[in-house]
């Protein structure tokens, strides 16, 4: 088996681990919903755990049974499912990192030069960002969305976008491939997590303001989440970093284009959409500070912004031809 094949196998393994994690996260959310209705007797469950029940590996860190997050985020004892979810996500992330590194070794270059590899690295950044954020405070409720998107991205990557590991064509042989593309992929990963947060903010806000669709008990888990205003602040902080990185991506892309294509900006479809992404997130930052547009409306900008990010990554590569036709398909 070649290194490239081994990498693919590891990525399949990561996808499977995430899929298990995803189910566990979903179960946890359902439990949270119950918990929100009937508060669990925290002490009892905690004792049961201490008494030697199946202990979840420490990969989950201090999250399990943490009495209350530093931000007052709801945590409930007895969230065994989320422990399993975090553990399998951790295992998945290890496989994911290994698969990504091996992919780079197999191709003898950085592993982000075609769509399969963007999906690979972008979802890795999203998962790692999620895990890193969880260290600071209990944000495990984001797991369903972030890991869900990661499973989707990896699944699509492995089945639809897959190409074997190989060296790149002359147009991509540049250190800008390392700089420009890696920052773009990291920004995408951050936008993913922020999108998850804003989505929850919108759902929570709708339920709180009495939306009939979200009134049912199926959505009770929303009550267990931090207040909408706190989610909005979290989303902003992640988006702010993502936006700065995206600004850098666009600028670095222009520098690279100047070297490779003899013009810094040529309104190639990829450039058009990178511009659209940038403008939408700039609008989001404005909306946050415009009277009557902050809060809910600003969160919609995050949703639209993320849609443009995803379209830039998929639709633009597959639908239009331009100079950026490196999907490898």
């Amino acid at each position: 088996m070649s290194l490239g094949e081994l990498s693919t196998l590891l990525v399949w393994g990561a996808t499977a681990a995430y899929a298990i994690g995803l189910v566990a996260f979903a179960v946890d959310l359902a439990r949270l919903a119950d918990g929100a209705a009937r508060p669990v007797r925290a002490g009892a469950v905690a004792n049961a755990r201490a008494g030697g029940g199946p202990v979840v590996p420490s990969a989950t860190g201090p999250a399990v049974g943490d009495p209350s997050g530093p931000e007052g985020v709801v945590t409930r004892a007895g969230r065994r499912a989320v422990g399993i979810a975090m553990a399998t996500t951790g295992v998945g992330a290890v496989l994911h990192v290994a698969g990504t590194v091996l992919r780079g070794v197999a191709a003898e270059r950085v592993p982000w030069a075609n769509m399969y590899e963007f999906a690979l690295v972008g979802s890795l950044v999203a998962v790692l960002t999620f895990l890193a954020l969880c260290r600071g405070r209990d944000l495990r409720f984001l797991g369903t969305i972030v890991i869900g998107i990661a499973v989707l991205a990896l699944g699509l990557g492995l089945t639809a976008f897959y190409v074997p590991a190989d060296a790149v064509e002359p147009a991509l042989q540049s250190y800008w491939l390392v700089i420009h593309v890696s920052i773009a992929v990291i920004a995408t990963g951050l936008f993913t997590v922020a999108f998850a947060v804003s989505t929850l903010q919108l759902l929570k806000d709708s339920r709180a303001s009495g939306s009939s669709r979200l009134a049912g008990s199926r959505w009770r888990m929303l009550d267990a989440l931090p207040p909408a205003a706190e989610l909005e602040g979290l989303s902003f902080r992640i988006n702010a970093v993502g936006f700065v990185l995206w600004t850098f991506t666009v600028m670095a892309g222009a520098i690279w284009a100047e070297q490779a294509w003899a013009r810094y900006w040529g309104w190639d479809p990829k450039e058009v959409w990178s511009f659209v992404v940038w403008v939408v997130y700039a609008a989001y930052l404005h909306a946050r500070t415009t009277r009557g547009w902050s809060g809910r409306r600003a969160a919609w900008f995050v949703v639209v912004g993320y849609a443009t990010v995803i379209f830039n990554f998929t639709g633009v590569n597959l639908l239009f031809d331009g100079l950026h036709s490196y999907s490898g398909l």
Partner: protein
């Protein structure tokens, strides 16, 4: 805060930071006062409001989209022509409305120009206000510290003066010239001392730098459009070209460009090397052009040009944009005279370099002019179905040609595409069965042209490169403004804007320090900042054992609670210290 709000664009919302000011007051919709000046002023105020800036930004995103969906003339004129042919009804309308050159269209330009106008109108007053505010003092300590998001208190034995001094040192940080906080202290009428501090002025600075840098980018790009030039030249191995407008195959420049400013260097292509993967897909791996450059008054010097690695000569950057084969052929006419000799570039059409070209032979001694059209196949595979190329390198090259005779149409003065044959005045040489005569020819071979038109000899197969030469004097400015924008943006987004206040009173002989903090927007670091300040104050007392006891002391939460404070005399303080 009132000052904060006044220089912000209309509709700029207050967040927690502005809560004390006019935060929530909604301006009633004001009707434009009659009269031209009033209307203009109203329009200007609208244009420079936060809401309109937001709407224009959204609009900018929307109007950019057609530029990716429809073919664009500057990028791909052939695709536009194809679209117009396929959509005869809607096509011309889209064309008239500028949809095939979106980024130069009236409506796209209108949106971004309005946006930048709004930006100027919104940013300049803020720059002025910010400059005036450079010496601004932190706001006075509010009467009640209880309602702020960050709170803390310390009770200790150090004197209020010591607390004030220690707090100021801690707030200023290690660099006195670049204080972390601007700090003021004061004594209130009832004798309580206060310290007020504010940090984050750089946030507004960063925001203004960012917006002004965007303006700088726009202006530099426009200047570059005005002054730039770009030329294309196709150079065959062994040949060269001189840097003069006339020597380019195509040349375009801004209206401000002066052709005499071109540095008259010469460039010769010595060798072009291409590498491909060896599998059937033959993906390109490396392209290198070895050239010799000679600047006026200097020695020749060997250089290389690669994809991604343009060569700078004089003021121009030279890019390797394409490559292909240029079969070197000789045509003898019916009289046996050399009617044509030279390398003819054939343009590659697929990844295996199946290349199409035309050999035009106008200078025949007698009879009709000759046009020879067809394909070059670098690695030919001939099957009953036809001939094709299966690899880009010249492993078994083959020319597959048909022959036309008649009038090439070169003399009517209309510029012609050198890669196309104008067949209107010509007839194709046909076999008796009506199919075109097809010539197959390998390097070194000579074939007879049909109908006694002469002979064709293929001598050699040099390669050619397509070079782009370009100079844009604004590049350095664009880069500088971009970096300024990025730095300004990061400063603006990541500089916390925080205010801290301390009120220091003497209660029952001990010093009670009450602290509060307020941040702009939500700020998870706020409490930590206040705690660090209080820790610095707490460190004034030598024994840490005081701390837990102090917590249980009187709770001076409420300003209105009965207090035993009296204007502290130095005598009293002496007493406290000696305790």
């Amino acid at each position: 805060m009132a000052t904060d709000a006044s220089y912000r664009p209309a509709g700029h919302t207050g967040d927690a930071y502005d809560q004390e000011g006019a935060g929530g007051s909604e301006e009633p919709p004001r009707l434009p006062s009659l009269g031209l000046v009033g209307t203009l002023r109203w329009t200007w105020r609208q244009l420079t409001s936060m809401r309109v800036a937001l709407l224009l930004l959204m609009l900018l995103a929307v109007v950019a989209v057609p530029g990716s969906v429809l073919p664009q003339r500057p990028q791909d004129p052939a695709a536009v022509a194809g679209y117009l042919a396929d959509n005869p009804t809607i096509g011309p309308w889209l064309d008239r409305l500028g949809f095939f050159d979106v980024f130069a269209s009236v409506w796209f330009s209108a949106v971004y120009l309005l946006l930048f106008l709004s930006l100027i109108g919104c940013i300049l007053p803020r720059v002025a206000a910010h400059l005036r505010g450079v010496r601004a003092r932190p706001p006075r300590t509010p009467r009640r510290l209880t309602r702020f998001p960050a709170r803390g208190e310390v009770v200790l034995d150090a004197t209020p003066e010591q607390v004030v001094a220690a707090a100021r040192v801690a707030l200023t940080g290690p660099l006195r010239a670049l204080p972390r906080f601007r700090t003021d202290d004061d004594v209130e009428p009832d004798g309580a001392r206060t310290v007020s501090a504010e940090r984050g002025y750089l946030r507004e600075t960063g925001n203004l730098v960012f917006h002004l840098a965007l303006l700088g980018i726009l202006v530099s790009v426009a200047a570059g459009q005005f002054l730039h030039y770009r030329g294309q030249a196709l150079v065959v191995e062994g040949r060269g070209f001189a840097n003069a407008v006339t020597d380019y195959d195509s040349f375009e420049s801004g209206t401000g460009f002066d052709p005499r400013s071109l540095t008259p260097f010469t460039l010769r292509l010595d060798r072009f090397t291409a590498a491909f993967t060896e599998d059937a897909e033959a993906r390109p791996r490396d392209f290198v052009a070895d050239v010799t450059v000679r600047l006026p008054g200097e020695q020749e010097s060997p250089r290389t040009i690669r994809v991604n690695h343009p060569l700078t000569v004089g003021e121009a950057k030279i890019y390797l944009q394409g490559n292909g084969y240029a079969p070197d052929v000789v045509v003898h006419d019916a009289d046996g005279e050399v009617a044509f000799a030279g390398a003819v570039p054939f343009l590659p059409e697929d990844t295996f370099y199946r290349s199409r070209g035309v050999i035009k032979v106008p200078d025949v001694s007698t009879g009709d002019q000759v046009g020879i059209v067809g394909y070059l196949l670098p690695t030919a595979e001939v099957t009953p179905l036809g001939a094709r190329s299966i690899y880009p390198q010249p492993l078994s090259p083959l020319l597959v040609l048909t022959v036309w005779a008649g009038d090439l149409g070169l003399d009517d003065g209309i510029p012609q595409n050198v890669y196309r044959l104008d067949e209107s005045g010509m007839t194709q040489a046909l076999e008796p069965d009506g199919r075109p005569v097809t010539l197959f020819l390998e390097p070194g071979q000579t074939v007879d042209l049909p109908d006694g038109l002469g002979t064709l000899t293929w001598n050699d197969l040099p390669r050619f490169v397509a070079l782009d030469l370009r100079h844009d004097p604004a590049l350095a400015w664009i880069l500088a403004f971009s970096i300024a924008a990025l730095v300004g943006l990061s400063t603006s987004l990541f500089t916390p804007r925080r205010r801290l206040w301390l009120r220091i009173r003497t209660v029952q002989g001990r010093t009670v320090v009450d602290g509060a903090g307020l941040a702009r927007g939500d700020d998870i670091g706020l409490q930590g900042e206040l705690d660090r300040l209080l820790d610095a104050v707490r460190a004034l007392d030598p024994a840490p054992s005081h701390a837990p006891a102090a917590r249980t002391g009187p709770t001076p939460h409420d300003d209105t609670s009965a207090r035993e404070t009296s204007p502290g005399t130095s005598h009293e303080r002496q007493e406290h210290e000696s305790r």
